[in-house]
Symmetry: C2
Subunit: 420 residues, 2 copies
């Protein structure tokens, strides 16, 4: 089964919002064996929407549209769909009742403007929105399925999960697709490619390898597609083959791999801390709380993370972490000596077993000839030992903060595992 | 002048990466009067790329492609473009010299695999990549321009800025477009729409209003398009008209507006702190350093932000902020009493003039009947007074953290301005 995703709305075309929906949808569809062959975006103009839908439908079974269903006046999708599929907008009492109940539940007054959302094309199957007001719509036309969903991410996700995917699986028979993702940190795409070249060249035709670089990380994704007849054990056979290739890849990159599939470095670090029964804390300067934020995005992190200090100024480094003024004076805030004292101080201040400290020049200004913008020192310490690492990143402040987050968490991981 | 953006690569279609490039490109093009009429994505398959380019070119002057130029084997764009435009790949010594110089500059060994990137279609104008290896390419065909750029965000951005936009402006004559954006926090789309309905209905045909909701915020964007003949003062006349409408909008929503254009709440708060000569710090529980991170994404924030503490545990709240154990015992960590003591404690611990404290239940677990998941208390204090605010958000941990960030920064802003 194949699909095309179409986003509707000027806000996408003028670049005011980043389209995160279609990445989420692609992943969800792929997991269920529905291949996304294309994506496109059109503005809030009737003829562009019609042209967009007609183009989207070429060569695929399903077109899934998002956006253009809001209560405000820039949204014309519903009317366009009714015209296109030759039906009319009618009042839908069940949807009104559901929207009213939704507002009762969240304890807010019902905005009358939303009544408009209960007016729907009479040829559509209405898909219930469990977490918002605008319902989804399902049209069948000339053997293809056309689905319209609201653009609000959590509403789209809920509708995909509860309505769209179950209905698509019932309507079509999907061919198995198997994905396996290997997560690496600390090495670039070209150098990884060189190390796995022979394996890559020997992959069978139905298995593809993709390199997905992010800041300081590269994800390697194997995708296997079942090309034979649909037998009961097709998915299992395909999975065995992809797992075999994954095993070969893993054996070539043991020093770079921190996890698999959708894990994050902060989840991996959290799991190790739980397994080792250790409490962890951070003392951050140039990252300004970013690493603490990453750690605490993980549910249950309060079990191993009592807290953190952000010490941006010299004073705070001395007062909260006991860094000696002479050290700051002599070596500067961005130095091996300072981060080591910060990490040791954090063990006491936060009462933890293991600590991470970071001090650097995030930029865009503040560099010196000996310490250019992008210079970052980090240290990890417990009561027995400490390790330090220096990196020189680039000139972009946000990128430096994010890169430091990746390198620092990876250093903590390796410290916990005794690899540094 | 009109453009279509085409992203190439399986990583977009399988949803492994979010396409942030095309939002950035749309904004940059729009600012220079180039309207993006559509966006689409295709996979790393030759015939899909060709079909994608042909579709993209319909009705526009320029097609800008990103992605598919990496050194790894899943990238076939260059070969496809050479075939499509009827030319051959030839070795380009200047590009080789530039790539080698780039590696010398960053002090890393030159990966031989990258030599491949110096082989380029002989019908393309080569666009110099100042911050990476793969160059951009510019093709002219049948009166239209086709541009291919690498998918790495900072490389694409640098090429757009230094090569693509200046060349497009020289090649075509762009009709003026004027955007004005008003940033609001703390109210939903429907209620804002109701308050500005009369104004919205009276907008002239060449001015459009778009609602761009994000977590806890709605941006209102006015877009004016010049429809008349291209006179020397066209842009200025259009800007006056859009500014007039913007002024009317502003007068309808004085209590909700925190800024304009691309400002962030953290930038606005930073500017007020600088203007008032005040030092600011945070004491965070459920947000785990996220607000400190937001504050410190702003260059120069060290001038008004000496530091922060993240007190996840009861112990840390007591030890670092002096919250009384009785208060925690009696009212719980998520209470008005606790956040007030946290904020007052932070004034001393961090030695600041104004402090923000936050304590809540981010979820997904940990709620009680009286304090459901999503309950968040925050306080802002100086030496004279303190204010507190309670919000009940939803069940999603990350969304709760981000929503809290918006509400908390807005509370700090209003406190500084004497509006609360």
């Amino acid at each position: 089964m194949t699909a095309h995703l179409l986003t509707i709305g000027d806000e996408i075309l003028i670049g005011q919002i980043v389209d995160t929906n279609s990445a989420w949808m692609s992943q969800a569809l792929n997991e269920h064996g529905i291949r996304v062959c294309g994506k496109s975006s059109v503005g809030d103009v009737q003829r562009e929407i019609v042209a967009g839908i007609e183009h989207a439908a070429v060569g695929v079974d399903v077109v899934i549209m998002t956006g253009g269903l809001g209560p405000t006046k820039d949204d014309i999708t519903k009317k366009t769909l009714a015209d296109l599929f030759g039906c009319v907008l009618v009042f839908h009492p069940e949807t009104q009742a559901r929207i009213e109940a939704y507002f009762t539940k969240i304890g807010r007054p019902f905005p009358q403007a939303l009544l408009e959302q209960a007016t729907l094309p009479d040829c559509a199957t209405i898909l219930t929105n469990r977490v918002g007001t605008a319902p989804g719509m399902w049209f069948e036309w000339d053997g293809k399925v056309y689905i319209s969903l609201p653009g609000v991410p959590w509403e789209m996700e809920s509708l995909m999960e509860h309505e769209v995917i179950p209905r698509l699986k019932a309507r079509f028979k999907a061919s198995p697709i198997v994905h396996r993702t290997i997560l690496t940190a600390g090495e670039g795409e070209s150098n990884i490619a060189k190390r796995i070249e022979a394996l890559e060249d020997s992959l069978p035709g139905n298995i593809k390898l993709a390199y997905l670089p992010a800041l300081g990380q590269v994800r390697l994704r194997l995708t296997g597609t079942w090309l034979g007849p649909l037998t009961p054990d097709a998915e299992q056979q395909l999975a065995s083959l992809v797992d075999e290739k994954k095993g070969e890849l893993v054996s070539l990159l043991p020093d770079l791999i921190y996890g698999y599939e959708d894990e994050t470095l902060q989840q991996v670090v959290g799991k190790i801390l739980i397994a080792q029964g250790k409490q962890f804390g951070t003392a951050e300067s140039c990252t300004g709380g970013y690493v603490a934020h990453l750690i605490t995005t993980v549910p249950g992190s309060s079990n191993y993370f009592p807290g953190s200090v952000v010490t941006y100024s010299y004073d705070m480094k001395t007062k909260l972490l006991g860094v000696k003024p002479e050290t700051l004076q002599r070596y500067g805030a961005v130095s091996e000596e300072t981060v080591r004292e910060m990490a040791l101080g954090a063990l006491d201040t936060l009462g933890v077993d293991i600590s991470l400290s970071i001090s650097g020049i995030a930029g865009p200004d503040g560099g010196t000839p000996g310490k250019p913008v992008g210079t970052v020192w980090m240290a990890v310490a417990d009561r027995r030992r400490s390790v330090t690492q220096k990196q020189i990143f680039g000139r972009d402040r946000i990128k430096n903060i994010q890169l430091t987050g990746t390198y620092a968490l990876n250093l903590v991981r390796k410290f916990l595992l005794g690899e540094v």
